[in-house]
């Protein structure tokens, strides 16, 4: 039996009970207290550009249809027929004006409203027995978007998404708003790995310490020139609002030279200059930091890297978005998309896609070595010995809690939040302390939706 208060206390002082990475009881609490409340990324508006377009996405065990109605509006509809609970949409994507349940033929418009109920009059006596009017597939309790990114929350009282993201929105723009048109999202690639979902989220949030070791091979083959230990430690790790990430320090030069250094063509640089605030431009141009990996609490991550995709010295940047979808305490479905600025030149889009495939995703050469480590970690965390081990996640802190290096000042860094140069596990601690905040807070009873219900004291009247 786990003493939850003890576990959460340990986590908050940066000592991680190793078993939290593979523990049924912890996972049950995460399901009940974290994933029932947090904002979770499920897709992007560009995946369903036309009326009738839909994709089906899961939030743990719950399936939602993200559908663009004839009115152009995007909705998230719980994929369960109001009659007997059958999935009304069994495809992953497509275009449909209606969803018809294969079981008894109830059908719904792509905005969720019920339109077809076979034998309504004969079976229910019409509206007197079943009020068809106004019935709709259950909408997600909360849905909100930022830069076209669609997030759901199972909490009807979730704060507005923008408020939840907080200052991390500043950094989100680098990945998802390089021009007024925002991104196009392609994919996702999906695969299941025997690893706990938190490990990936922590790694992308702030583990710049692993890069020179885990990813030695990609430097050796000339795919990526940056991860060398000395370059990595000159970058900063920032945490802002509900997310944080890592950056690389770029060689000296103007804003334009720095963006060209990572492979952006001038036509894209001009749009970034129109799109981003002075502070956003200064992080790159004045301060010399380029965003790389990041995570938004709890399980969404980003990558921005600039590998060589051809036999030349040129590099090309790519962006990937992903979620670490929990399947069980020891299993995660990685859902990984390629993202590219919608206004980018076609050739850039093609080569950026190639850069993504070579580096991340199911075949990515960075990713391959990450997952091998995480599978091994998860496996080891299952046993009795792991319950005796508190892992030290205090990098960047002295024993008395003072920081090894002070945070960057406003003069050194224009981005919001707190940023430190050098090695540190600041962001893993931020992520897990939010995790602890959720896990210690019991959930309130959820309200239920009755499908054309009757008061509880109504009984069947027998003739």
């Amino acid at each position: 039996m786990t003493d939850l208060d003890l576990v959460l206390g340990d986590v908050r002082r940066g000592m991680i009970p190793a078993h939290i990475y593979n523990d049924e009881e912890i996972f049950r609490l995460e399901r009940e207290r974290l994933f029932s409340r947090a904002w979770l990324f499920v897709g992007h508006e560009s995946e369903i550009p036309q009326a009738g377009d839909y994709v089906v996405r899961r939030v743990l065990d719950d399936s939602f249809i993200l559908s663009r109605g004839e009115d152009g509006q995007v909705r998230a509809l719980f994929n369960m027929c109001l009659h007997r609970g059958m999935q009304v949409c069994r495809a992953e994507m497509g275009n449909a004006s209606h969803f018809r349940c294969p079981y008894h033929g109830w059908s719904y418009r792509n905005d969720g409203r019920i339109v077809g109920l076979p034998f309504h009059k004969d079976a229910y006596g019409g509206e007197a027995g079943f009020r068809r009017k106004g019935q709709t597939l259950l909408p997600a309790p909360s849905m909100d978007t930022y830069n076209g990114l669609i997030f759901l929350s199972l909490d009807p009282d979730a704060p507005p998404l923008r408020e939840y993201l907080g200052d991390f929105a500043f950094y989100l723009d680098y990945y998802t708003r390089q021009s007024a048109s925002g991104i196009e999202l392609r994919g996702p690639q999906r695969w299941r790995v025997k690893t706990n979902w938190k490990i990936g989220a922590e790694n992308f949030a702030g583990d710049m310490y692993h890069t020179p070791q885990t990813h030695t091979s990609v430097v050796e083959i000339g795919l990526f020139r940056e991860p060398k230990a000395e370059k990595r430690k000159d970058g900063n790790t920032y945490w802002a609002g509900n997310g944080g990430g890592t950056t690389y320090k770029l060689p000296a030069g103007t804003l334009e030279e720095k963006l060209r250094y990572v492979g952006y063509p001038d036509v894209m640089i001009e749009r970034m200059k129109e799109q981003w605030s002075q502070d956003q431009l200064d992080v790159i141009g004045r301060d010399g930091f380029m965003i790389s990996a990041a995570s938004v609490f709890p399980n969404m991550s980003f990558v921005h890297n600039w590998p060589r995709v051809e036999d030349s010295d040129d590099v090309l940047p790519f962006i990937s978005l992903r979620t670490w979808q929990p399947v069980g305490p020891d299993e995660t479905e990685v859902v990984s998309w390629f993202a590219v600025d919608a206004e980018a030149p076609e050739e850039f889009k093609a080569l950026s896609y190639k850069a993504y495939l070579m580096c991340f995703g199911s075949t990515g050469m960075f990713e391959q070595d990450d997952v091998e480590n995480w599978v091994s970690l998860t496996n080891t965390a299952a046993g009795a010995m792991a319950r005796r081990l508190l892992l030290n996640s205090r990098m960047g802190l002295l024993e008395d809690g003072t920081e090894v290096v002070p945070p960057l000042t406003r003069e050194q860094y224009s981005g919001p939040g707190e940023a430190h140069v050098g090695y540190g596990e600041y962001n893993q601690r931020h992520l897990l302390s939010r995790w602890a905040d959720h896990l210690e807070r019991p959930v309130e009873k959820v309200s239920q939706v009755e499908v054309s219900g009757v008061p509880a004291d109504h009984k069947e009247v027998r003739a």
Binding site: A91, M93, G187, R190, R192, V193, S217, Y353, T363, M365
Partner: protein, 215 residues
């Protein structure tokens, strides 16, 4: 001089000409934004007889390749590929019967040319490709081989089914990847080389930790 004739073989079964073509090809290579360099050769007619020398050579090639892949002799494998190879493995998705597509638009697991494949191979040859050190035990089971002629005498199309069994460590559950492949083989010098491969994996969600393997 013997008058004895060869025993008469039964007439080849008059197969019904299928109304819809079957096979593991599809529009993926031609439609890929990274497939501009790829050969466009398509199959002609029905599959070649199993005693046709071209089929025998193609089948032999496929079997030899599986041993190279199982042994992870990837430098040897690269030598089997033409310089204009396109190696593509689309991401499959579940769609309605009438949707007209069953793969994620413009997204693949592999969408490779010779350069990117050579980088993948080079990585395995470093001492720091942790995902395959210790290496997986691999067994590619290749079957359902059929060969088609093309308009070019020196090119053949080969359909195969492949089942990859991948076992890592001592107690981890092994992963299995099932796929259909369509290959374009080209006669170069005195042997055949792979000029295009389309891999239609049978899972929408892969059940393997990564694709640090080739199919």
């Amino acid at each position: 001089m013997s008058t004895q004739t060869q025993p008469t073989a039964p007439e080849p079964a008059k197969e019904k000409v299928a109304a819809a073509p079957t096979g593991n090809g599809g529009p993926y290579s031609a439609e890929s934004r990274l497939g501009g360099h790829a050969p466009r050769t398509q199959r002609t007619g029905r599959s070649l007889a199993f005693d046709d020398p071209r089929h025998l050579q193609a089948h032999h090639w496929m079997v030899e390749e599986t041993y190279i892949l199982d042994a992870q002799n990837y430098e040897d494998w690269l030598d089997l590929l033409t310089d204009d190879i396109h190696y593509i493995m689309p991401v499959r998705v579940t769609t309605a019967l009438t949707a007209g597509f069953d793969s994620a638009p413009h997204m693949a697991h592999f969408d490779e040319n010779k350069y990117s494949l050579s980088r993948r191979v080079a990585r395995f040859l470093t001492e720091h490709a942790w995902t395959e050190d210790p290496p997986s035990r691999l067994r590619h089971h290749v079957t359902n081989v059929r060969t088609f002629a093309t308009p070019n005498p020196d090119e053949l199309i080969v359909d195969t089914a492949v089942l990859l069994y991948r076992s890592r460590g001592d107690i981890r559950e092994a992963s299995i990847i099932s796929a259909g492949r369509e290959d374009l083989l080209r006669c170069v010098g005195d042997g055949w080389q792979l000029a295009r491969r389309t891999i239609l994996v049978d899972d929408a969600v892969l059940r393997t930790q990564n694709l640090a393997v080739f199919l």
